[in-house]
Subunit: 232 residues, 2 copies
Amino acid sequence: MTKTHLDRALGAQLEELRKTLLGMIDHVESMVWSAAQALTARDRQLAARVIDSDHFVDRTELEIDEACLRIFARYQPLAGDLRLVTLAMKMVTDLERMGDVAVNICERALELGDAPLLIGEDELLAMASLVREMIREARQAFARSDVDVATTVIWRDDDVDRHYLRLLAVVLARMQEDPSHVRRGIPLLSAAKALERIGDHAVNLAEGVIYLVKGKDVRHLAHPSMPPHGVG
Amino acid sequence: MTKTHLDRALGAQLEELRKTLLGMIDHVESMVWSAAQALTARDRQLAARVIDSDHFVDRTELEIDEACLRIFARYQPLAGDLRLVTLAMKMVTDLERMGDVAVNICERALELGDAPLLIGEDELLAMASLVREMIREARQAFARSDVDVATTVIWRDDDVDRHYLRLLAVVLARMQEDPSHVRRGIPLLSAAKALERIGDHAVNLAEGVIYLVKGKDVRHLAHPSMPPHGVG
């Protein structure tokens, strides 16, 4: 193949890679939201469906890893292309873990069974909704190479932490009021903690996008500069 | 540079990469063990030292990622070399998370302060000791490209899960007996869960070694075949 042919073939492979990654993000976002629904609505069937759908994530992870290795071997990508391929391999790891954590939430939902939640469903759904928004924004940031949106995701993480701490305080108080609440409180706290971890993974995705666009690593820095209007 | 020079230079870079990774594993192993000590011995100074030492892990992660990108760009590694470089990029992600989780354990230790643990320290240290063994074995498997040792790590994960469930049952029971135990029980459960997550990351490292040696991906398979004598 000539240089131009190679470039074009590489371009097509990278485009395919991007599409597969976006599909994987969509799938994980839907798993996370459905897991929160299953938990708050006591929907065992939904929980079982989410657990079952994790196979898709696992399979896609392996496919993307293999595609990346093929691209390395055939095209020896450089600069931005190289960053995209290595980022893809890191992103699938985060996405796979997000899928696993959504499965954990569903397992907690099954554990809780029909027992009423110790806290308002609204509180837990608000946290899930925030985390879903972070995943969506991380997706958008990746799709459009948008550093501003990626930065928003990083900032939102503090909101998730605040939600979690508030929820933790409420559940702890209920458990102390009445020890019979302990057995129901623990799976609930696990689920809330799981949502927080999913938020962390969304931050990893967003940091990856900044790295991809700027060629600059923002991991382990203080927060990148806040947009002037703040984050709603 | 001639082909031979390039090969030799690549060989030296990969050797350096291996050494840095082994050093990172050693550091993380020591963080995890010290975190468990800090928790059980109520040693705030040790907890603070572990938290502080996480900078080393963060810095090494960035260094290894950069080294991998340089190796990709300069040498376009193939086959086993390519697998090693991509594996290195995945391994540092696991190691960085393990460091973060060790930091979480230390934060729980600081939260607990001088309050007595709800369970025997031996129980928690036994779990930490098992997880430390998994990290050591994952290191050994990587250093010697030893698939058998890597397989042992994967099998040990079930033991960690059993430990965690036993501990969860005991702490839950204590919390139900006496609601004033709830506030002490929660950080303890977080710490135990954290140890379990570190075990999961050790399994990821071990699966990576099998992939490196065999060129075969064992993620998302049922457990690889058990050694005939079982795992002690």
